[in-house]
Amino acid sequence: MGESMSVLDELYREIILKHYQNPKNFGVLPQATKTAGGMNPSCGDQVEVMVRLEGDTIADIRFQGQGCAISTASASMMTELVKGKKVAEALELSRKFQAMVVEGAPPDPALGDLLALQGVAKLPARVKCATLAWHALEEALR
């Protein structure tokens, strides 16, 4: 136990709080063309990711569900990042995000605000929270 206080201070920052308390792109997407759900059965956190594809572009994306600060903020920032991107670009960002939080790979600036979650790599118990929405996104896009 006992990472230095700075790990949590880095992680639980203003930006995470903002996305947790007022998540972006939250709610139902009526014209969704693809939907996928994710659930963490060990804690009950759940998320549903809805996308509207135009050709191979993510024209719109929303999510709903319930979860902790890390899973909610991750989902919120994810929707902001991938909206308007090509499917292949979104999948590449997903790979980069997961490399950062699962393997502790050096952060890629392309991840934007999601860099705030890099401290998750030092909290193994919380990795599944951070990746929950991303797994759902990948499933929706495949």
Binding site: G2, C43, I70, L123, A125
Partner: protein
């Protein structure tokens, strides 16, 4: 008994003064004696049981059967009523499959409660689905107790099994099992008790409870993982077919048919967890030497002190009944902070608690919560640790005020 010096018996606890372990409802720490029993078995007794003609096997069998005698004493049962299994989950599956699958019919009912652990629900879902039986639940009151007034309508002749948790792993509620069993017997229903939380923390007398079956996990009562016990009333066991088939559980085998050994061997197919069962017997002896009344009293003293001190933490909400019918388990939330985030903050302070639904989703649905954080006590916990827990919560409340 000095519960403070008793911490020295637990190597992990004694070696980690930085750690406040408040997750014994998930699994307990192990005393040296239990670890030594495991070690001694492999160094001095290792042989298979019930078969060898040589002295080592006889000694291993004797140690294994001695563990059965100790577990019988621990539960006030007969030796032949003690079946070694892996854990509570396996024990409850054994009952559902070996008894339920052969005795339940379409339209029969299984009565459970809204505070069951998933292990007390899912085996019945599986078997009821195959047999067309229905599952009903005794509801909860606002305080988190069972609403026994519902028994008048729920407990009909259609009910063939009443399966209840003795002590809730979330709320700590200790259910009036003896009374429920008495009512169940009136309609001829089988009484199955999930004792995963009660066996480690309360004096248990399966005869006084009126249980037909009582399931426990060794690892929650100072034993190693991999060994648990199913108590079954002998008259019931005698009439049952086996659960798993294989070696050790037979009388005579032909290529196309077999007959079975009497209980308990009938229900112990294959090589059992010998070392783990022996070490579990050692854990039971350790607890019996202290006295389960005193173990319970220590949990209760910590609980009462903690509930009093937790009232100092603003925005903290504690769930579960207030009264004597409550063991040392505290589910809590802090403001709007998600229990997972809260558990991470507590982890940062060196305090180990669990967060989530604790394998009791129906109960959390009833509470209107997706998750709770949970602190649980055992005999090695101290009042000073309760203070550290409360002070950590106060610091978290100040530091993360914006998150609440």
């Amino acid at each position: 008994m000095d519960f403070t010096t008793l911490r020295e018996d637990f190597p992990l606890i004694a070696g980690r003064p930085d750690l406040v372990y408040l997750d014994s409802a998930a699994t307990s720490q192990k005393p040296k004696r239990v670890l030594e029993a495991l070690d001694r078995y492999y160094k001095e007794l290792n042989a298979n049981v019930h078969r060898g003609a040589y002295r080592l096997s006889v000694a291993a069998t004797e140690a294994y059967e001695e563990a059965r005698r100790r577990m019988a004493r621990f539960l006030n049962a007969e030796e032949r009523e003690i079946i070694f299994v892996r854990n509570t989950t396996e024990a409850l599956n054994l009952v559902a499959y070996a008894w339920g699958l052969r005795n339940l019919k379409e339209g029969d009912e299984i009565l459970v409660t809204e505070m069951e652990h998933h292990a007390g629900l899912v085996p019945w879902h599986l078997v009821a689905g195959l047999k067309g039986a229905r599952i009903k639940a005794i509801p909860l009151t606002e305080e988190g107790r069972l609403d026994l007034s519902a028994l008048d309508t729920l407990l009909t002749e259609r009910v063939k099994v009443v399966s209840v948790v003795h002590m809730s792993n979330v709320l700590g509620t200790i259910n009036p099992v003896a009374e429920i069993a008495r009512r169940a017997k009136e309609v001829g229903a089988l009484v199955v008790v999930d004792g995963a939380q009660s066996a480690p923390h309360l004096p248990v007398d399966v005869k006084a409870l009126g249980a037909d079956f009582f399931a426990l996990s060794g690892h929650k009562m100072l034993g190693p993982t991999g060994a648990g016990v199913l108590f079954g009333r002998y008259e019931v066991l005698e009439g049952m077919m086996p659960f798993l088939g294989g070696g050790e559980m037979i009388r005579e085998v032909h290529v196309d048919r077999s007959t079975y050994a009497p209980p308990p061997q009938r229900f112990e197919a294959g090589t059992p967890p010998i070392a783990e069962a022996i070490a579990l017997g050692e854990a039971a002896s350790y607890l019996m030497e202290i006295g389960m009344e005193r173990v319970y009293a220590h949990d209760r003293a910590l609980l009462e002190y903690a509930l009093k001190r937790l009232a100092e933490v603003p925005d903290l909400k504690v769930y579960g009944p207030k009264g004597e019918d409550r063991g040392g388990v505290i589910p809590f939330t802090l403001g709007r902070l998600h229990p997972h985030d809260l558990a991470t903050f507590l982890h940062q302070e060196g305090i180990a608690v669990r967060a989530g639904h604790h394998c009791a989703q129906p109960l959390h649905r009833k509470l209107g919560l997706a998750a709770t954080a949970r602190a649980s006590f055992y005999l090695y916990n101290t009042f000073e640790e309760v203070d550290r827990f409360v002070e950590a919560l106060l610091r978290i409340h100040t530091r993360y005020r914006a998150w609440l």
